[in-house]
Amino acid sequence: MIEVLATIILVFLGGGIGSSLRWGVGKAVGKRYHGSFPWGNFAVNITGSFLIGFLATLFLIDWDNRYGTFMIALVITGLLGGYTTFSSYELDTAKLIGKKKTGIAATYWIGSVVAGLIAALAGIFLAGVIR
């Protein structure tokens, strides 16, 4: 019971911090860039994908114990899950389609997953190399 409660608190804190970071990145990018491509969420999702590949590979292998499960709850599920967003990724794409910017929409929609998959793979391999 204590462990379930601890997990919920860690996921909540991680999710809250990660979401605040995402919001901060979005605001910072919005101040400097006023074009149509959603660079804020793109940057968040790709850096988050790299970090999950990197950290999950280290965590799951090195910290496979109770401390490890708490770290996964806080960092992987909470922080990185809250930092990155699938819903805004689809919403950004839908909004671009609504504005008839189909080319940018398609580039963002497909480019995000291609870059995200490569970033996560790079994280997995980098963690394997430095271990």
Binding site: T7, I8, V11, F12, L13, G14, G15, G16, I17, G18, S19, S20, R22, W23, G26, V44, N45, G48, S49, L51, I52, G53, A56, A73, I76, T77, G78, L80, G81, G82, Y83, T84, T85, F86, S87, S88, Y89, E90, L91, T93, A94, K95, I97, G98, W109, S112, V113, G116, L117, A119, A120, L121, I124
Partner: protein, 126 residues
């Protein structure tokens, strides 16, 4: 303005806990991560719905910040989506990886578009 970060923080925390609850209760079948799939596509629909309600004037800026940037952003995840797909590829479950990737992208987009239309009250043909 000063409270904005706390709206995002609280919403994001709640959303992440909802996703954790889904991860603990929804089973992975044949390697397909149904929990993350459902968390992502449901959040895509609801964020579209909220965006539609904002354009209609039924949802304010603070409410949208809490619900969309916070709860839906926290409930959905791009990192686990990418990492999960890579894991399936590395385990050579290529077909499941491809289905997971493409179905998530398409269903999420259709539901986001549908949510916007439903929320804004516009007819499907515009």
């Amino acid at each position: 303005m000063k409270h904005d970060v706390w709206l995002v923080f609280a919403g994001g925390g709640i959303g992440a806990v909802v996703r954790e609850a889904l991860m603990l209760s929804v089973q992975t079948v044949g390697g397909f991560p149904f929990s993350i799939f459902f968390a992502n596509v449901i959040a895509a629909f609801l964020i579209g719905l909220a965006t539609g309600l904002v354009t209609r004037g039924s949802l304010g800026a603070s409410g949208n910040l809490f619900f969309s940037t916070g709860v839906m952003g926290g409930m959905s995840t791009f990192s686990t989506f990418m990492h999960g797909t890579d894991q399936l590829l590395l385990e050579s479950v290529d077909f499941t990886a491809l289905i997971y990737l493409v179905i998530s992208m398409i269903v999420g987009l259709i539901l986001a578009l549908g949510g916007i239309k439903l929320g804004s009250g516009r007819k499907a043909a515009n």
